[in-house]
Symmetry: C2
Subunit: 389 residues, 2 copies
């Protein structure tokens, strides 16, 4: 008997979220046992309200565009769900004859995925529920890395290189760039790859894993300014002080989502006030997950693969699991996909290990760079200058 397939997106998008959707849709098209293919309109809320988008007859040229479309082409949500909602979702799945469910999202979404799987299993329903990892922040555990991160890493590395090339020719100037990552510094850390192949790179990197000390920060900048005039600093949006309080107070809080004040402006302001030098803060923000030109080809291919494998897995009646990647080798770069029990990743947040952060707590180690480099999907643009300091 034919069963329908449902794809649900959760949480914030990445530059390759739609590439996973593409992979899943292409794969789903191969199986005669799949009837209709639905996308939940705007995440789990769409399931609860029975708002579905038909995806089985999307023309191929439109499907291809998913690979270069940021955001979530079927919408997403960040809803808090209780027992009642899981019961309701199970009802909807039965009503719509859905046999296969794919959840594409981060920690929070994997939590939802695991709970829906459990609800369905407890009811003895014949439904397979599978997770596709997605996070720009790279904070999903077990997997070596997650689709979405490589592109965010490429964005920050190339942007930092460009910023450094710009600042290098200016009169004394301190630029503080803010990178995404509330508790995990993976993206911020990737800025270090700007200096690959002799490119200009950042001078200081501050990660949320290390308690931020304003005095030490000012000392770090002051010391650098004795020998350099253009300083580029990359900081995580989620920097916290010794007591664990955000360096800048969040300006807005709702449920699991926190809206931070601009750490970059605040830290630029500190340089102005305490050192008297010109400084400015930059915050590309959402651009860091939406840039298509800075999509990593490796990331895009892996995102597509993750979607494809999740689809294949539900067809094989696997349920309550997430697609993950194991790294077999870094040079040459080789990974192996596997399935992990969803229980192992639900709401677990993976932060940077100590071995990836330098002793001073203001930069990364070579081992981090080695680990991160292949995920960028190729070299950054090459630059030159004649203005040696």
């Amino acid at each position: 008997m034919k069963k329908n397939l449902l794809i649900i997106h959760g949480g914030g998008p990445t530059a390759v979220l739609n590439a996973s959707l593409y992979g899943a849709l292409k794969e789903a098209g191969k199986y005669p046992q799949i009837g209709r293919i639905y996308g939940a309109k705007n995440g789990t809320g769409g399931v609860l309200r029975e708002k579905f988008i038909s995806l089985e007859e999307v023309p191929d040229d439109k499907l291809q565009l998913l690979l270069q479309t940021p955001g979530s082409a079927i919408g997403t949500s960040r809803d808090e769900l209780g027992e009642k909602e899981y019961e309701r979702m199970a009802e909807v799945l039965i009503k719509w004859e859905i046999g296969y469910v794919l959840f594409n999202g981060g920690n929070g979404t994997m939590d939802t995925c695991g709970k829906l799987h459990k609800t369905c299993r407890n009811k003895g329903m014949d439904i397979a529920v599978m997770g596709i990892p997605k996070t720009m922040d790279n904070d999903i555990s077990v997997t070596d890395h997650s689709p979405g991160f490589g592109s965010a890493a490429r964005f920050i590395a190339q942007s930092t290189r460009e910023l450094c090339a710009d600042v290098r020719g200016l009169p004394i100037h301190v630029v503080v760039m803010e990178a995404s990552g509330r508790n995990a510094g993976w993206i911020t850390a990737a800025a270090a790859l700007a200096s690959d192949d002799g490119g200009p790179g950042p001078d200081l990197i501050y990660l949320p894993e290390i308690p931020f000390d304003e005095d030490q920060y000012i000392e770090d900048v002051k010391k650098l300014l004795t020998r350099k005039k253009g300083i580029v600093i990359v900081v995580s949006e989620g920097l916290k002080d010794q007591e664990g309080n955000p360096v800048v107070e969040p300006i807005f809080k709702t449920g699991r989502a926190t809206y931070f004040g601009d750490v970059s402006s605040y830290l630029a302001g500190l340089v102005i006030k305490r050192l008297g030098y010109k400084a400015r803060g930059e915050k590309p923000g959402l651009l860091g997950r939406a840039s298509i030109l800075l999509q990593s080809s490796v990331d895009r291919e892996e995102a597509e693969l993750a979607g494809e494998l999740a689809c294949r897995a539900v067809l094989q009646k696997e349920s309550g699991k997430m697609v993950a990647f194991r790294r077999l080798s870094t040079s040459p770069y080789r990974i192996e996909p596997f399935l992990v029990d969803i229980e192992e990743v639900m709401l677990v947040e993976k932060t940077m290990p100590k071995a990836f952060i330098n002793e001073e707590g203001n930069g990364v180690t070579e081992s981090f760079k080695e680990w991160c480099r292949p995920l960028l999907g190729g070299k950054l643009t090459q630059m030159t200058h004649f203005n040696q300091e």
Copy 2:
């Protein structure tokens, strides 16, 4: 008798400042009457201190990289110069046997260029001084547009499209993106081109030419939120109120340079406080002039041409002028370069004409889009979505 050529960069860089340098250097290499080719290290300050970079023997592969290097490859400055400094510069030019001087910069630099030309002429010196227009803000007068602007326009248009694609799939969300341009809204306005060819575009655009009214802004947003859930607003960093005061107080001032507070964060905060909706501010800042992947090919070619023509002009003993572009036709796009008396552009700031701004003062007209479109150097990336509102 051979004379040496000197190239001086002034003010903030653009994505194609080094492309003009490339054009000038390539052209200069063709003339046997040119002896040495110098770059002033870090702008006029380098001339005063006799810090020159030899550029006549740069290998071709390194020269080529100038086309994809943001910033100023020979450095730049934003120094205040008095009569004494112009006298000193004239002395240095004589001492170093310089017969040709090219200034690459914006309004301020063209002022310097004109004053140096005058100083040399008053002294009866045999020196030709020529300006190459450069400004991301497009605020140099007389010329149809200036090298640097097309790339900044492409950056903001593509980034806005990406941001809109991202926000389109989210739960209610207001994003305010800040664009460069203190007094001239050209870059901010170019965000409107995001919606070309059916792409997702910004909902509101606020330019520095129009006095900003916070109540009207909140009304505009409120009205939109009755029919849309993802709102993207693009604002100029230099928004001013009815009295001409910056919407956000500048955080740092020095000479001609003003460091603004973040208008985007402030306006996002207003939405949160007054409407209770989620909102965030983004500020790509310097990335908007440093992105190489979003360089406009038209801009790059014109920048190169401007450098080339300025060099050719000084060889023909033209002096006290700037290379400018006249638009012959918009469709097909055709321009004609000409030389303008530097007096006409010195410190004159060109802002957006009324005909390019919509009646409500929160967007642009079709005539602006038609004028701006060819400068982007080709279409933006195409996108798709299945989540019609």
